[in-house]
Symmetry: C2
Amino acid sequence: MTRSSQPPAPAGQVSECSLRLVDADKVEQVRSRMPEEADVADLAVVFGLLSDPGRVRILIALLEGEMCVCDLAATTGLSESGVSHALRLLRGPRVVTVRRAGRMAYYSLADSHVRMLLDLGLTHVGHTGRDRLQMAAGR
Amino acid sequence: MTRSSQPPAPAGQVSECSLRLVDADKVEQVRSRMPEEADVADLAVVFGLLSDPGRVRILIALLEGEMCVCDLAATTGLSESGVSHALRLLRGPRVVTVRRAGRMAYYSLADSHVRMLLDLGLTHVGHTGRDRLQMAAGR
DNA sequence: AGAATATCTGTAGAGTTGTTCACACGTTAA
DNA sequence: TTAACGTGTGAACAACTCTACAGATATTCT
């Protein structure tokens, strides 16, 4: 998921060695608007976290509010260890946050952007009609 | 707090063997709203396509309009073969479409949802400022 | 026709990811 | 205290992904 590909050549010069161009102006224009390499990498990391069905189910579950690990496991069909591993990945970039109470750990979505990404993605995938997640997205 | 106590699975077949539950009602509620497995899988595939920096650069470039393979290569820093491989992956789920003119192939974004996903993601990484994502830092 | 061009595809190998298992850690109950 | 519990972690391994290279295909030029 996170495999850093070769960063674009230093800005300014479009034409490197033996690279063919058809529309040099367009290339230059697009390159000038291209975000920084680090931003692109971060974006890819976030999307990569959403690229596993198990993690997606976890995050969709969390759309409805906080949940503990064992309930997430029951909800998603993953093992508890699997849920824990997944939540660790999601905790790193602060996609989810944890609230601890005794030996329980309650997880919730940390950031509304992920909520929107999930909602948009579900719409894209053809999950049309029916309320589903809309209501939960308000919080 | 709700002890697990595990009563004989209240009616709705929340889960089967030996899974501990803390809040069975919540689990049942969330499970009833969980999208179909196929939709979740498709969603993960789409996000997976956005999880590679090279492909993200290609798609960001296409935000400005259609481009041919060699200009995409020059723009993104990928090899032309690499761009072609990436575009093949994106063509499958109709994320991009191709218009052929002679021996040229002009690609463009096929679907406005991907455009929105990219925009949302970009404003997200832009707004989080230099709060760089730290993958391993969570722990 | 042959050569050059633009794109596409197959393949191998290096690297990465997800899952499972076994156990460790901190908390609560007995 | 000991035992049970909920969760976290590390290691191992299969499965997958990306990249580079070679070559294929299709189109255009001379």
